[in-house]
């Protein structure tokens, strides 16, 4: 979608690297990640814990936790470089141009202030409105995110709301200044299944109405399948596969994505056993040479052990796997697999 239009992308991430200096050497947590998001598009970023998906999101909103730092690459929002801005400059962009929604709605709200006060403060920080106007806007936002009895609820404190309602307040906060992009990091993970569906529907509706682009970071393939236009699958700090959501979900090109889809229990067919990917994602200190996925891969060849694949065209998607290169994966590996 983004590649076909001539409009400049809203967000461009190029060769992003995030590293953590530690006593035992520097860990590369996000390694050479590039993607872009078109205006109004929902990009899903999916992966297992430790894949670097949240760090990528945090790098974009400029909230990397020290000692984590951007070690290379660039991030551009509407053509303007934002990864090297001074803290105060970035603060003006965060909230105004980029909104953020985090996993736990209780920790993203200040328990000491009423939700109305938090909304008004955010609105007045970014928009030139009087206190009364800001309050009216806050009230409108609360109504828009579907909080019943918004007139009385506006003066309530976060602990007086249920989890689902709190997440609605957080969404209202993120929308305060009319951002062009929202980075939503596991927005539904802490919520019950019936509430999850409500929040996803709300997020989809609001983004469509406001034309806001969303970077949706989650480990839940189901949420991605329902919400995203395109999806990026991350593994060990790199993008393993990126493409239109339908193609990635139904016709995965990377062996990791295939395994991931197979390991999700499916309704309709009851199988004895689920497809499983043996082993676990490597720790950052033990990323193997060549393709990071090769020790768990059933289709690997000699080339995968030494040469690291970059994203290459694979049908309508792009995958970082030698299977899609003209050279192939190289000679088969005769040695028996380590883990049975």
């Amino acid at each position: 979608m983004a590649s076909q239009t001539n409009n400049p992308p809203l967000l461009e991430v190029k060769n992003l690297r995030v590293e953590f200096p530690t006593r035992r050497g520097t860990l590369l947590a996000v390694d050479d990640v590039s993607f872009d998001i078109a205006p109004g598009e929902v990009l899903g970023v999916v992966g297992e814990s430790g894949a670097g998906k949240s760090l990528t999101g945090n790098a974009i909103i400029g909230l990397l936790e020290p000692p984590g730092r951007i070690a290379g690459g660039e991030i551009r929002l509407e053509g303007r470089r934002i990864d090297n801005l001074p803290y105060e400059e970035m603060r003006k962009i965060r909230g105004a141009r980029i909104g953020a929604i985090f996993q736990d709605p209780l920790t993203s709200l200040n328990p000491l202030y009423s939700v109305g006060r938090q909304l008004v403060e955010t609105i007045q920080t970014h928009l030139p409105l009087s206190a009364a106007e800001a309050r009216t806007r806050a009230l409108d936002l609360l109504k828009e995110v579907g909080i019943p009895g918004a007139e009385s609820r506006i003066d309530h404190y976060p602990h007086q709301f249920s989890g689902g309602m709190r997440q609605r307040v957080v969404i209202a906060l993120a929308l305060c200044a009319g951002p062009r992009l929202i980075v939503a990091d596991e927005p539904t993970t802490a919520l019950d299944v019936s509430i999850q569906a409500q929040i996803i529907a709300l997020l989809k509706r609001l983004c469509r109405e406001h034309g806001t682009a969303v970077m949706l970071v989650t480990h839940d393939m189901g949420v991605i399948a329902e919400t995203a236009d395109r999806v990026a699958v991350m593994y060990a700090g790199r993008i393993a596969e990126i493409g239109p959501v339908r193609d990635v979900v139904k016709h995965a090109k990377h062996p990791y994505t295939k395994g991931l889809m197979g390991s999700i229990p499916s309704l309709g067919v009851r199988t004895e056993r689920l497809t499983q990917i043996d082993g676990a994602m490597p720790r950052l200190t033990e990323i193997p040479t060549g393709c990071a996925f090769n020790p768990r891969c059933t289709e690997r060849g000699q080339r995968c052990l030494v040469e690291r694949p970059d994203l290459m065209a694979a049908g309508t998607s792009r995958a970082a796997c030698w299977l899609h290169d003209r050279g192939g994966v190289g000679a088969p590996i005769v040695k028996e697999m380590v883990d049975a």
């Binding site: 814990s49 990917i277 676990a280």
Partner: protein, 346 residues
């Protein structure tokens, strides 16, 4: 007991567990506040046959974990009985009889980070039940048993020397499973065993649980909020809402012919991975507080089919299609059974 054959392995009858969450006595007296009681489990009946996997599903706060803890005896019930292989667990047993019964049931907890002692080596964690129940004949036998258990959960004997922090979440859950198997139980209560794990690791653990069940003829009580997982692993499923069991049915029946309106609602919340464009209707409303549950059928404030009777009278479970449903609309025949089909995920 549906057919009176007496083959039920685990039987819960009229099981209740209330928690007193009142403010302290002094505060109550000064401020004139009443006592507050959470009806976490409010009268449920479940029968589990030997060798089957019975799952309990529901949203957080519906009491499913409380049931798990009641069954293994971590909480005493407020009312009702728990029978295990014909023995009433509340009856007076001698210490040794009780230990013999306890040995036959074990529990696997949700969080593999919190349920393993960080200061113990894995060998000692797994050896603990064997030592506690006096099952081994000397040191060499203990060593051999622990090594066998580690192999059964696809770890290596060398892993016994490590500490829990040296393992990933999935491996830790394998250690929990090995510990649960150490006393050679027949019945395992699994409280959200895969909720803290990534999907690819979840698949490994579910496969392992199925393998072990077949190998040792285990009976599982499986607690989960993930319907896809429940569909995959269960023989029969019970749906809980606010401390009550609203529907019990064989897995296939529950998913293809759901009866209770709450079951239908839960099925609607399963994300559509097949991209069939199936419209999900997000349900309005949230689970009410179990301190003051709604009158009559507790689901009536969220139920699109509720009538006056639902507000006044608590529905009684009726038998239907090999399962039970507690719903006035189904009982009166004004709500037809819904047929659902799923497209296989290719």
């Amino acid at each position: 007991m549906p057919d009176g054959t007496g083959t039920q392995f685990v039987r819960l009858a009229g099981l209740k567990r209330y928690f007193d969450v009142s403010a302290p006595w002094l505060v109550r007296t000064i401020e004139g506040r009443p006592r507050q009681i959470v009806q976490a489990v409010d009268g449920i009946d479940i029968e589990i046959a030997k060798g089957e996997t019975f799952s309990l599903v529901g949203e957080s706060g519906c009491g499913k974990s409380t049931v798990a803890r009641l069954v293994v005896g971590l909480y005493p019930p407020t009312d009702g009985t728990i029978e295990f292989d014909g023995n009433d667990m509340a009856a007076r047993h001698s210490r040794s009889d009780m230990a013999a019964l306890r040995r036959r049931m074990q529990m696997i907890f949700q969080d593999p980070y919190a349920s393993l002692n960080p200061r113990w080596r894995v060998f000692d964690i797994i050896a603990e039940p064997i030592r506690a129940f006096g099952l081994s004949k000397g040191k060499a036998d203990l060593q051999k048993r622990v090594e066998d258990l580690l192999r059964q959960v696809k770890l290596t004997p060398a892993d016994g020397r490590k500490f829990p922090h040296e393992f990933s979440g999935g491996q830790r859950q394998r250690v929990s499973i090995a510990r649960a198997l150490a006393s050679q139980p027949e019945f395992l209560v699994c409280d959200e065993p895969t909720s803290a794990l990534d999907v690819s690791v979840q698949a490994q653990i579910l496969n392992l649980m199925v393998d072990l069940q077949r190998r040792f003829g285990l009976t599982y009580l499986f607690i989960s909020h993930n319907l896809a997982v429940v569909y995959h692993i269960s023989t029969r499923v019970g749906v809980m809402y606010l401390g009550r069991l609203v529907e019990v049915a064989p897995t296939e029946t529950l998913f293809t012919r759901p009866k209770h309106p709450y079951t239908r609602m839960l099925l609607d919340t399963i994300p559509d991975l097949d991209m069939t464009g199936r419209q999900r209707s997000p349900v309005a409303g949230e689970v009410p507080s179990p301190i003051n549950p709604p009158s009559g059928c507790t689901f009536h404030p969220r139920c699109p089919f509720a009538q006056d009777r639902c507000k006044a009278e608590r529905p009684i479970a009726i038998s239907i299609e090999g399962g039970t449903v507690a719903c006035h609309a189904i009982e009166e025949g004004r709500l037809p059974v819904e047929e659902r089909t799923y497209v296989a995920n290719s």
